[in-house]
């Protein structure tokens, strides 16, 4: 993984000093709240219902054992012993004091972490495939480019005060695990006809009030041009994005207003006028970043790996289930990618305790090369577990409440913090997710792959638009109601889900989801996921099942 050098370390020290002084000026009243708010937001500090919430960047989701232990320390010392992994591969703490936040930032800096640009109308944490570097279907490791983008976008003098927030994702596999289509700019590493690797550039995707899938801005961008092209696109957005209406300020609205062709013309025109040279990614720059992501020293497969696993499969149904759902193929023979579920039925999705963070740190040293990845689906990936160690690894997880075998299943629900913590929310998400997950766990094996996503308001942090089944909390005269959608998808066939009918009260959510699932199970063809069945049979059967015939 990327390790800071002297430049990165000194830069971060300067940022901590700057923030400490900003907080000092606020606490003595030199800055008003209105003046301070944009400054604290650009350091990830929100004022929420109960306290300040601190959002810490986890670049492309990667964490080392020292970083995991530091998060555990922060959870214990400054919070109430737990944190929450978000759908942007970040972590949030919910019970933070403003006066302690500079100390937290300094503690984070000691393990090469920060909270820069985790909020505010600027370029946010770049996200990626949690299987990056180990997936058996990727063209090239996307992480070096995420790191290059992270550095370029950090305190960018021109693009730190954009019309609205700006999210970039990079993926390199045919199977999209990074929801690239719902980003302001999405980058796919692709190979052109000449066999060179570069980027397909998408623009204008996003969820929120106006869910739109990104469109192709450029079919092939040579690697060396990555930053100059991004700078051209950002400049067009900075100059022409709307600033009169916060709900129409994302780049997707600009793309919609101009049309993708005019948008492309504008970006290409700007790009052609720019001096690229300073931003050109030289081979030595790319190589310098790349070496941080070199494959670890993998061992040879042990001859008895399969025997150990097969014995365990025969002896332990729970292990067998976990192996089936939580373990994926690694590109290196003898290794597996294992995903630790943070969705035990009946618990808040994505929450993790200080003790569990410590345990993950220890396990990443014992079963891997000291690295884990947080996923946008709020789970944690161990990228390099020896196949022969899977049994022992699972045993350690299971004894700490981390052995839930539900990755990609109905109880692996994405949910935002909702009204229990968030001042923007209209309704609670966590209790809905807890009850639904608990309810569906019994039949999820029969259901198979299923993406259920819950947001507590239209800002859509829970990605409800792209859930196979999406649930959106709404407020009706002070009561919480839930609007349900079907057919959404965040993978390479991305689609926005369609509203089934009128919103239902919270105690009817489980029943309504049951009915949607009944239709899917009765009507699906072999191998079809819910969006595929929905595309084939349409809304009517789903609507009728939930609301009856009119």
């Amino acid at each position: 993984m990327y390790r800071y050098d002297e430049f990165d370390r000194r830069f971060l020290e300067e940022r901590v000093a700057q923030y400490r002084d900003q907080v000092r000026r606020r606490l003595i009243g030199q800055l008003t709240e209105e003046e301070f708010r944009p400054l604290r937001l650009r350091n990830g500090l929100y004022l929420q219902l109960h306290a300040y919430m601190y959002r810490i960047a986890i670049p492309y989701g990667t964490l080392s054992p020292a970083q995991l232990r530091m998060l555990a320390y922060i959870a214990r010392k400054y919070d109430r012993g737990y944190g929450h992994f978000t759908t942007r591969q970040n972590i949030q703490f919910n019970w933070i004091k403003l006066e302690e936040s500079p100390d937290i930032m300094a503690d984070l800096a000691s393990v090469e972490m920060h909270s820069i640009q985790t909020s505010g109308n600027c370029i946010r944490n770049t996200t990626s495939d949690p299987f990056a570097g180990v997936a058996d279907d990727e063209i090239e490791d996307p992480r070096p480019y995420c790191e290059i983008i992270r550095q370029w976008s950090t305190l960018h003098p021109e693009f730190s005060w954009l019309p609205r927030k700006f999210k970039i994702a990079v993926s390199a596999s045919a199977k999209d695990r990074a929801a690239v289509h719902v980003h302001d700019i999405g980058l796919y590493l692709v190979r052109n006809a000449a066999g060179e690797v570069g980027f397909q550039v998408l623009v204008g995707g996003g969820l929120g009030r106006t869910p739109i899938m990104a469109k192709v801005l450029r079919d092939f961008l040579p690697k060396q041009d990555l930053l100059s092209y991004l700078e051209a696109a950002l400049r067009v957005y900075n100059e022409y994005g709307r600033r009169d209406n916060i709900y129409k300020a994302r780049i997707k609205i600009l793309v919609q207003a101009l049309g993708i062709d005019k948008m492309r013309d504008a970006v290409e025109a700007e790009w052609s006028k720019m001096d690229h040279e300073p931003l050109d990614l030289t081979k030595e720059t790319i190589a310098g970043i790349y070496k941080h992501f070199a494959p670890p020293a993998y061992g040879k497969p042990e001859r008895d790996d399969d025997a150990v696993i097969n014995t365990a499969i025969a002896a332990d149904k729970k292990f067998s289930r976990w192996l089936k759902h939580n373990v994926a193929n690694h590109k290196q023979p003898g290794y597996s990618i294992a995903t630790v579920s943070l969705k035990p039925p009946g618990k808040p999705p994505g929450d993790i305790t200080a003790d569990q963070l410590d345990l993950l740190a220890e396990l990443s040293e014992r079963h891997g090369f000291g690295e884990v990845r947080v996923t946008h689906e709020q789970n944690v990936v161990f990228p390099d577990v020896r196949r022969g160690d899977l049994v022992a690894f699972y045993a350690s997880l299971a004894s700490s409440g981390l052995g839930t075998a539900n990755i990609g299943l109905a109880s692996d629900i994405i949910a935002c913090p909702g009204l229990d913590y968030c001042s923007l929310a209209n309704a609670r998400s966590i209790p809905i997710a807890e009850r639904l997950g608990e309810h569906l766990a019994a039949r999820e094996e029969e259901i198979g792959p299923m993406k259920i996503k819950i947001s507590g308001c239209i800002n859509a942090c829970g990605h409800h638009h792209v859930g196979h089944i999406g649930i959106l909390g709404v407020d009706k005269n002070g009561e919480e109601f839930y609007q349900i959608t079907v057919g959404g998808s965040a993978d390479e066939l991305s689609a926005v889900g369609i509203i089934v009918g009128r919103a239902v009260p919270s105690d009817e959510v489980n029943g309504a989801v049951d009915k949607l699932l009944d239709v899917y199970l009765a009507q699906r063809d072999d191998g079809e996921d819910l969006p595929a069945t929905f595309r084939r049979i349409g809304m009517e059967p789903f609507k009728e099942a939930v609301y009856g015939t009119r």
């Binding site: 606020r26 606490l27 009243g29 008003t32 709240e33 004022l47 929420q48 219902l49 109960h50 306290a51 300040y52 933070i96 004091k97 403003l98 006066e99 808040p348 009204l419 229990d420 913590y421 929310a425 309704a427 609670r428 966590i430 209790p431 807890e434 002070g478 009561e479 919480e480």
Partner: protein, 100 residues
């Protein structure tokens, strides 16, 4: 929802609706309530209430805006058996904590 505020009694006819003034405390962000005389309390029970919250609000922010209180606004409350209870799920969660 926690038991402490699960069984809200239905609105009793002889109750009049009241208002109180709330904010978040600058240094740690916790919810605070205007307790009169320039003071704020983390306990909603210490709130001063009035039928017209705007009057209270004016009193709370009279003079230079108090540094301690961030985002001052009026909330609806009920007075039940001498206790001040916020109306609406959001203010209940603010006053009594997350439900999950």
């Amino acid at each position: 929802m926690a038991a402490s505020h699960e069984s809200e009694p239905n609105v009793v006819t002889n109750e009049t609706s009241h208002q109180a003034v709330t904010a978040n405390r600058l240094r740690d962000g916790i919810p605070i309530y205007f307790a009169g005389g320039g003071s704020w309390s983390p306990n909603i029970g210490d709130s001063v209430t009035a039928e017209n919250g705007e009057t209270l609000l004016a009193e709370a922010i009279r003079g230079p805006l108090p540094l301690e209180a961030v985002g001052v606004y009026v909330i609806e409350v009920r007075l039940a058996e001498g206790a001040v209870r916020p109306i609406g799920i959001k203010e209940q969660i603010r006053a009594f904590g997350p439900t999950a």
